[in-house]
């Protein structure tokens, strides 16, 4: 029993009916369209194509090279012919994607070798070559995260297996099916980062994963399996860090300066896989679920496959779709159509029927305080709402700054509980956007 203050959180319905379904490989698609970014974000970081239309490519062959630290190398996920290098909408930003027509052979790239790094620098280079990014959604390249070890000692590696989002069970399956790769990943980090402590945080709603991993690591004192209560957002960086270690990343501080890194369990496994097979990141496990999907499943899919093909592999739709999400029911990103494509950081496709997708009209705030009580970070969403109603941009920015809107992690708990159905998280997001822009235009602080 610890006396530390507990973080507010939310008990959500889990909708994790796919947890018992082993991941199955989907049929080879006719075509993939691989976005040159690990996920669709407002600031999509792109990679540069290094193939041309008409080129023949094989599975694992690099087809685009990272342009900056935020991007990653992109590899062909099917063998076949490059049929297009075309513009691709990524959320609010526009990007590029490479279209490959599959020859149905899934021919492996002959140049792939099992990497044999000798030191930290070589190890990081290998991880960089693997193209693995944060698969829990953040999509930050794993090598860049691990490179913190070049600047200072990383004593603790926090492995995130919380998977608190409703619907998603992809990480759960990874933990059940790839214990060996988790072990391999931990060994690599022990060897090259020299970390002494490995904490695998898993929500209690996955007792089988907890039991299996506890058994696997029972003779390794460096590895601790930590059961966490099944509340949302248990897997969020600050929340997980605090609940697992009691530490907090203060403002202006970086996680690594505490000697800690957090890595999603699926990212760790993908990274380890590269050191076993030499195959870079070309596929991943995703959960396909939601009221409109006929046969919800955990699927192994090539990166760049269309939602249409994914749905096909799940028996098609049983109802008219109302909303298509990449990710879970809380923070998932809505997609415009079935022609969206799976990216590296897409952990789930949730398709809701029309009825579920409808939102209730917001009514006036009744000042009940539930949004404040539930916020894991102790923010006051009603203050952000008040700020966004202000006319004067300077006053608006000042109030947003004072109430620290930028701390908000968009977890959505506040919107979920609001009895007036106010779009609080959305408003917070708008507030963050406004404040970023305003601060850029007023570098002196505008006081």
């Amino acid at each position: 029993m610890s006396l530390k203050k507990s973080i507010s959180s939310l008990k959500l319905p889990h909708y994790k009916s796919t947890a018992g379904m082993a991941a199955v490989r989907m049929p080879i698609p006719k075509e993939v369209l691989i976005p040159l970014s690990p996920m669709n974000a407002h600031h999509a970081t792109m990679s540069e194509p290094i193939v041309q239309v008409g080129d023949h490519v094989t599975v694992g062959q690099m087809i685009a090279r990272e342009k900056d630290r935020g991007a990653s190398h992109i590899h062909a996920s099917v063998s076949g012919t490059v049929t297009g290098i075309e513009p691709y909408a990524m959320g609010n930003a526009s990007g590029t994607a490479i279209r490959i027509e599959s020859d149905g052979k899934m021919e492996k790239c002959p140049d792939l070798k099992i990497p044999q790094p000798a030191n930290l620098d070589e190890f990081l280079q290998c991880v960089r070559d693997s193209g693995v990014v944060g698969l829990g959604g953040a999509a930050y390249p794993v090598w860049a995260k691990l490179s913190a070890a070049q600047k200072g000692h990383i004593s603790t590696v926090l492995i995130n297996g919380a998977e608190c989002e409703p619907f998603i069970t992809a990480d759960h399956r990874v933990m059940l099916e790839h214990g060996d790769l988790i072990q391999k990943g931990i060994e690599l980090l022990k060897q090259f980062l020299g970390s002494e402590e490995f904490i695998i945080g898993i929500e209690e709603n996955k007792p089988d994963a907890i039991a299996q991993l506890t058994e696997r690591f029972k003779d390794d004192p460096a590895v601790k399996i930590m059961p966490l209560s099944s509340v949302y957002p248990q897997g969020a960086k600050q929340v997980l860090l605090y609940n697992a270690t009691g530490k907090v990343v203060e403002k202006g501080q970086r996680l690594a300066s505490l000697g800690v890194i957090i890595i999603n369990v699926s990212s760790l496994v993908k990274m380890a896989e590269y050191f076993v097979t030499g195959m870079p990141m070309v596929e991943r496990i995703i959960t396909v679920d939601g009221s409109a999907v006929k046969e919800p499943k955990n699927l192994i899919v090539p990166i760049g496959v269309s939602v249409r093909d994914v749905v096909e592999a799940c028996g098609g739709l049983k109802e008219e779709p109302g909303k298509i999400l990449f990710g879970g029911a809380m923070m998932g990103k809505p997609q415009e159509s079935l022609d969206a494509h799976i990216m590296k950081a897409t952990n789930a496709v949730v398709i809701m029927n029309r009825k579920e997708a409808l939102k209730t009209e917001p009514s006036p705030c009744i000042h009940c305080g539930r949004c404040v009580a539930v916020c894991p970070l102790g923010l006051n969403p009603t203050a952000f709402a008040r700020a966004m109603e202000l006319e004067d941009p300077a006053a608006k920015a000042a109030l947003l700054q004072k109430e620290q809107v930028k701390v908000c992690m968009q977890c959505g708990c506040c919107s979920y509980v609001c009895p007036a159905h106010r779009p609080l998280a959305e408003n917070n997001n708008a507030g963050i956007g406004f404040l970023r822009k305003w601060e850029k235009e007023h570098p002196e602080g505008g006081k």
């Binding site: 973080i7 605090y242 403002k251 990103k333 997609q335 209730t360 000042h367 620290q404 919107s415």
Partner: protein, 306 residues
């Protein structure tokens, strides 16, 4: 395929809504209202209850109509205000005085400040105080259950006169406002609100606890006096139903607990040291005004912020 929804997360929502919360408050007030009708008589109480509720709803409806605002009576908060006001009045009040109170509460205290969620003072309490000042004895003067005008127990404490027994106090066989006397009924409502998670226990318990403990101390540890203080006046009604009003209390639980403590303190001071027999309404109004400051003083740094 029709257009897909592109609204951002979260994509699921709890089942709660504002109207359901207001409905819960109304349901929680029903035992007290029924007890009031039984104790003080149907003919004496029902017209007041109906007048207050109808006047409250009607004035909100008309206010929205005249100012061309979106109609809000559907959220049922005007019903809550009207009902609460009625329960805070004695059967001595005339129907037009009760109606005036409702109009005052809804138009001046609530709607002019922007409607639900925006007013700083509790409408029912402010209206009660307004009526007290305008028509003093009619509103506040206790009516005994037999219909004769008489002193409330709070007037009697310290005079040596015959007090109702503690059991009579608990069941509501004493003078006072329609909804404040039957403690049993109020506690039923309290329990219902807790079960429905509409309010938290902290505010009523701290409020009533503060009055109880202070009375105990200042009476030289007379449990009887402290219990009388606890059961008399509008303490339980105020603590359970008015000091827990969402809009006019601070938004954080921490500040709300200080709010409750302040209410308890002021109530006690008014009752013990001032000439006024009752302090619950004044204390809540005072703390309503202090709410924004309580929020400010008790603010904590967000996780990962400053």
């Amino acid at each position: 395929m029709e257009q897909l929804m592109m609204s951002s997360g979260p994509h699921i929502h709890s089942k709660d809504n504002s109207r359901r919360i207001m409905l819960d408050v109304i349901l929680a007030l029903l035992p007290a209202a029924i007890a009031g009708v039984v104790i003080f008589g149907v003919k004496e109480t029902l017209p007041i209850l109906l007048t207050c509720v109808i006047a409250a709803v009607l004035s909100e409806f008309l206010f929205n109509l005249i100012t061309k605002k979106k109609q809000t009576v559907g959220d049922l908060s005007a019903v809550v205000t009207g009902l609460l006001l009625a329960l805070n009045l004695s059967t001595n009040v005339l129907w037009w005085q009760a109606a005036l109170g409702s109009v005052f509460a809804i138009v001046l205290v609530k709607c002019l400040f922007g409607g639900i969620g925006r007013n700083f003072a509790n409408p029912a309490i402010t209206a009660r105080i307004f009526l007290l000042m305008a028509f003093t004895s009619k509103v506040a003067g206790g009516v005994l259950p037999d219909g004769t005008t008489g002193a409330t127990p709070l007037d009697l404490i310290g005079t040596g006169a015959q007090l109702p027994t503690l059991l009579e106090m608990f069941l509501g066989q004493r003078g006072g406002a329609i909804g404040e006397t039957c403690i049993l009924a109020l506690l039923l409502g309290f329990a219902y609100l807790l079960i429905r998670k509409v309010i938290r226990w902290e505010i009523p318990v701290i409020f009533m606890g503060t009055v109880f403990v202070l009375s105990l101390l200042f009476s030289g540890f007379s449990f009887e006096t402290a219990l009388y203080e606890l059961l008399s006046g509008g303490l339980v009604l105020g603590a359970v139903f008015m000091a827990t009003d969402y809009t006019t209390t601070p938004i954080t639980l921490r500040a709300r607990m200080w709010f409750a403590l302040g209410c308890g303190l002021i109530t006690f001071v008014i009752r013990w040291f001032c000439a006024l027999p009752e302090g619950v309404s004044y204390s809540i109004l005072c703390m309503n005004i202090l709410s924004p400051w309580l929020e400010k003083w008790t603010r904590r740094k967000p996780l990962g912020g400053v």
